[in-house]
Symmetry: D2
Subunit: 267 residues, 4 copies
């Protein structure tokens, strides 16, 4: 089984390699990821310039890796059309530093990459991990959950085109309180803009940090789940005519739940 792994934080992100390593238990892993941090890049493709790619050393044994001077979407496209001849059985995008919930799925490069796999008929899973900005990010739960999903989907493929958005709470696997099948909540953040004048020039910084004052944190949403230490799994198929049978999603939640419970605290 051929597993493609990408992300939007780039090849210098620890989460990318943690995910790649975790997935080696499920199949043959190939990393094709951006050479730089491309957060906020959505599903953007580079259509107006050339795109360059080169092999990079992988810190994970047995994993072949390329860095792409481009977007996460470019990575998925090149993985399917330029770098490899054989198709992928599944793709994962992550582990993003920070959750991608609610309307953020439209803006996230992590999800944007998964959109491109989905559009090519490859089961695609975006994996993000919420963390307290004052603390540091944990990858362990995400790794365990992703590996469990990979094994399940490769053993029992879902017929319909699949785009899953998985968000981990900021706890280790032993403290995960459950795994929920969710729908995206409302948007938690808007952008704020900082205007700076430097000499005779001026510029703006766009920051994705203005908290929505009335977040609707309804139960059943990804936001609710993550805030309550649950793993959130959403099917975010953007084409409304695609339905994923509810029981298939519940099965996925079950295997992840089981994996957390049986994981101990080993990465």
């Amino acid at each position: 089984m051929r597993i493609l792994v990408t992300n939007d934080d780039g090849t210098n992100s620890e989460g990318l390699w943690a995910l790649a390593e975790a997935l080696t238990s499920a199949g043959e892993v190939y990393v094709v990821a951006p050479d730089r941090d491309r957060s906020g890049i959505s599903a953007a493709m580079t259509l107006l310039d050339v795109v360059r790619a080169h092999p990079v050393n992988s810190p994970v044994d047995g994993v072949e890796a390329h860095a792409v001077e481009g977007t996460p979407a470019d990575c998925v496209i090149l993985a399917h059309e330029g770098l490899y001849d054989e198709p992928f059985d599944i793709m994962f995008s992550g582990i993003n530093q920070g959750a991608n919930m609610g309307a953020d799925v439209l803006l996230s490069g992590t999800v944007g990459a998964a959109v491109h796999g989905y559009l090519r008929g490859v089961p695609s899973v975006a994996v993000s991990s919420y963390y307290d900005p004052e603390g540091s990010i944990r990858y362990e739960s995400a790794c365990i959950g992703a590996a469990a999903i990979a094994r399940e989907l490769l053993a029992s493929p879902i017929e319909a085109p699949l785009l899953l958005n998985v968000n981990m709470p900021d706890v280790g696997p032993e403290d995960v309180e459950g795994v929920e099948v969710t729908v995206p909540g409302s948007r938690a953040f808007l952008e704020s803009v900082q205007h700076e004048v430097v000499g005779r020039r001026e510029h703006y910084w766009i920051k994705h940090n203005r908290s929505n004052s009335q977040p609707k944190v309804e139960s059943g949403t990804d936001v609710w789940a993550v805030r309550n230490n649950r793993v959130s799994i959403s099917s975010i198929s953007p084409l409304l005519t695609d339905g994923i049978p509810g029981e298939r999603l519940e099965r996925l939640a079950e295997v992840v739940r089981h994996a957390m419970e049986t994981s101990g605290s080993l990465a």
Copy 2:
């Protein structure tokens, strides 16, 4: 009424100014658009670099304009947070050279800009015009349709958050055969990748041009409508809990139909 106009083809695109001019009949138009062609940029925001903006001469009287060294999304964000203090009543993104239908709405910078207006609670309308690549693009139908939609929405605002995707067929208003409320069809194009070696270097070109061999052109879809010389109006609200009452959408279709019929062949 304050109307924001942006696009993804940039300030050098004729379609941007044609749309701006057409909308002056509905309110006060402000253009904030990318300084370069940003096709394929989806809803990407520039979060990791500064963004610069400067006033530009507008070829349309009475329209204030800025060019942004950034993405269409950056334009919408800066219009709301940096460049102006007052909110916009409605925003339009377009007129895109080429249709944006089916799954392309996920990749299109034209739609990506409208997503950001929608997320800010501004009624947002993406306007694209299909055209035969062998021929040249017409803006007249798109201008008439957009102006009609603007007048209707400003006179009778729809309560729910609104994100409309409008696609024009490749005909003048007098040849428009109808106006349909549609849903996005399946994807018509995937990307192909061209590998080139130049000296000791190599690169890839990603081209959004590989036609899907089994396009499902079902009636009721945007693709069907445009191929049959109908104007297509889709509500593409990405947050599933948002519903737009069907009769409101039908009302919009009606005003556009009427505008086409009464337009003669004047721009």
Copy 3:
């Protein structure tokens, strides 16, 4: 006579058009300039990506203009190889906001553009105007001086390959105290670096503003001239075997001096 005008501050810079207008008195002016501010870009060419150019409206009558999504050097190269078939008789780069003196000539995009004209055998003149950062930049002296140099060089071409670096003091033509043939002084500024941490990311800002504590302001240098309200003309031919006869340079200084004296205070 065909005159190419470019700059490194981009098509939105007033100084570019002031220069273009002033040079219409000497010949047929063609503007090919970067679409964005490219300060600090030196003689860099875009070799690893495509370069796009498009016509732009010129605020100066009779001047054809293109904007290039690239560097000042790209502009000079495209002007000679892609956009026009006929060669240019002379080229000007400017009017830069801020002087380019001493070792800054190695870093300046204004001078970098002129280097490329020089390398193609076109007499090339970089024009910069010093100004007090607390005040605003004057273009008048630079316009008068550039036009005088253009008329002189077109009437009496200098045989050897020519690369002139002209710097204006921060005064109007009536207060110019002289015109000197100079050599580049030592470097007046080094860079300082500001380190910023934003959330989980960090970055650096390079600023070209750290004043050299022991500037050698020797008479005969460009720095000395400009500080003493003189126009500075340096031949900065980088290939040591190229000599420009001293009397030719003195002749240029004379025509500029005369132009300042007879200018009144009209632009």
Copy 4:
């Protein structure tokens, strides 16, 4: 002794690490290099955007390395101002794939980086290796020569600000026929421009490959030396008032000659 190593081909270039390794015999080596290929970038600095840097794994033991999302000049500036507190005793830029001779020194990113070290008073050496495009590049001679120069300059520093441009012929050390102190020859290449139309868009490719039909290959020049299997060492101090005593340059040539003769054919 602290030795800074950078280049313009980026951290993925074999020549960078070959040079770093060779220099470990002369002192403590620190690599700060661009994360991408920046050929043709001249002495350009990033002044209008932030610059990011991150540690990277070094394939050479004992060498600390950073990749910079920026230009070679940015690397030199950050190495001196942001990344390290202690100054460097010497810096090397290379090993460039392809020679940088004649007027190319004005355009080369390899030389551009060295210019910035020179401007900061650090003895700076650009190292390039000519090679037959049909064949593959050799780094051995460049490594031996650079290490010999490093040891000599660190043992017997030259008082004046130093900027050396070293070019290797396309032979192994045993076939080097001599080492010459040279001056830059005339320019061997101009750019050509290829215009391409893709759909409704067009663009240009600038290629640095149009051979000058009348190259003046005078003896005593870098071009002559390299074509005749000699190592070329030029002092290319851009500030004319800086003189490097001829006998110091001849001494450098001698140590390199000796190193080639005694090298055998080991890297």
